[in-house]
């Protein structure tokens, strides 16, 4: 068995400059630490930026696309064609060992964070708004321990590694 850890990076297709920069930096860090980077795979926003960062360090990059017609990010090594539109968000978060949201600026990202918690995945909110943090803390309920925050890519990646170690420990029990 030598499955590699997968970092699912989610965020807006029309993300802010800050979120885009965070995503690219996070992708680069993930690749350096030998994580596979998975995103929604479109040639836009956080999805494209995270793949670009990972590719720049020789990382493996995978996009899980909403439809067969969608333009694929040029930095995706492999394009998984889900053809299930927004429902593919569930596949993205399930495929990640840990999910990092670069900003929670729109409804798509909000659905991904929600689905991640629902599926009991660790989620790191990177530079999320206070409203987003407060909301997800409110709804997390029993999944409260799965919700984390970070203020830069380095902190988010460190947190992801700690979450992965934690998951492995609880798997062994």
């Amino acid at each position: 068995m030598s499955r590699r850890p997968v970092l699912a990076v989610v965020g807006g297709s029309a993300s802010t400059e800050g979120a885009t920069r965070d995503a690219e930096e996070l992708g680069a860090l993930a690749a350096t630490r030998d994580w596979v980077v998975v995103t929604g795979g479109r040639a836009k926003g956080v999805m494209a930026a995270a793949l670009k960062g990972a590719r720049s360090r020789g990382g493996l990059t995978i996009g899980i696309l909403p439809t067969a017609a969608e333009e694929v990010s040029p930095d995706a090594d492999v394009a998984i064609i889900s053809d299930m539109h927004e429902a593919r968000n569930n596949v993205i978060v399930l495929t990640g060992n840990v999910v990092v949201a670069c900003g929670v600026d729109g409804a798509g990202t909000a659905s991904e964070v929600s689905l991640a918690l629902k599926n009991r995945r660790h989620v790191v909110l990177l530079n999320a708004s206070p409203e987003a943090i407060r909301f997800f803390e409110t709804i997390a309920g029993e999944q409260r321990g799965l919700l984390h925050t970070a203020i830069n890519a380095q902190e988010a990646m460190d947190c992801a590694e700690a979450c992965l170690a934690l998951s492995h420990r609880s798997d062994r029990r």
Copy 2:
């Protein structure tokens, strides 16, 4: 053409007493006004309560189930078996002409409200927390006009009817 309007009612499987009562009342009102009521179809919480209310007034009730193994609410006339787990939330909200969330207490409901906005569906937040209302207002962006609030089932149903009329008008343009 005589397709009937569909009200998608979403909410927790372990909902509060208030949310459960709201859902049952809403289902009853929807049936009285000849809407079909669609929920996640499980024998629990808001899903079951809305179907129960609708059935009590002779309404048509449909559950869209996560898996074939799941126990179906006794008040569902028809069970649609999606077998796609949490991704079925996307099917529920797309199937509704309007979506009403009875409380936004957990991650599942949060994903449904998010997916509804992403798919440009009108959403009524019925007795949602201030944190939830503020969060969805923040992320709605261009979909801001699709987000509504209500403090009782009657108000939510009136709002749903107004949204439906609005959709029909914009379809005709």
Copy 3:
């Protein structure tokens, strides 16, 4: 509990005249016997014909559509919007208590018969080609007992009722 039996009727969107007539007759018979009729819901071929037949006898008709953009058959009471393209075929066959294929003329229908068998649903091949019957007999394996043939709508509907009775008996064991 008063869930009504569901007949999933599958077949080509560009079906032959014979298959279209079979579908319409089958829909009418199903409605008469108080089955709900479910199809792919598009305004074409077998999907549309079965809904039309059922509607003509006052039956409840449901279409499970591939996308939100697709034109819906005018005879669907309710349109379930799966937004998962061909993968929605799996939802159609799982939702049926029994599946009837009106002709197996194309790849879409072949996928539906295959998915039905894979999900252990009873399937009636109505006026299928000898090649289709032979093929599905070959691959059915342990599901061989789930595969039936019929040469007219009446026979198909009688077979569906027998299959339903059989399923109920095995559920009780």
Copy 4:
């Protein structure tokens, strides 16, 4: 742009010895020619054998799993968790630039070949039964040119490469 070609290898989870050997050999050949190998990812039959063959030559291997609970093949580099049961067959065939079926022994594989044709993917039937070849020729219709047969892994891989070249040519038009 440097997306790598993807070979989707499909076949039974309880495949014959011949089909398993074909799959392993095909996976090895695909890896040698720098294709990514994608299968259903379970630790059984053709799915596992193709990944094992590809991994033995240092190829990139991806499994698209039916559920989060399923045991993953030890030779998958990355596990995509679809959580949509049999509907994930549609994702597998859409993700492949070309699909090879190692035997068509069961309903799952029959659904994959059917969905591939429906989605206009080239399909190579490797050592399929005469009944299967005849059936798919009958239903292929306008997709007749997408259907190919082969009698060993080498021939199947050569055919896949020719299909890929053909797709690229028609994309450029």
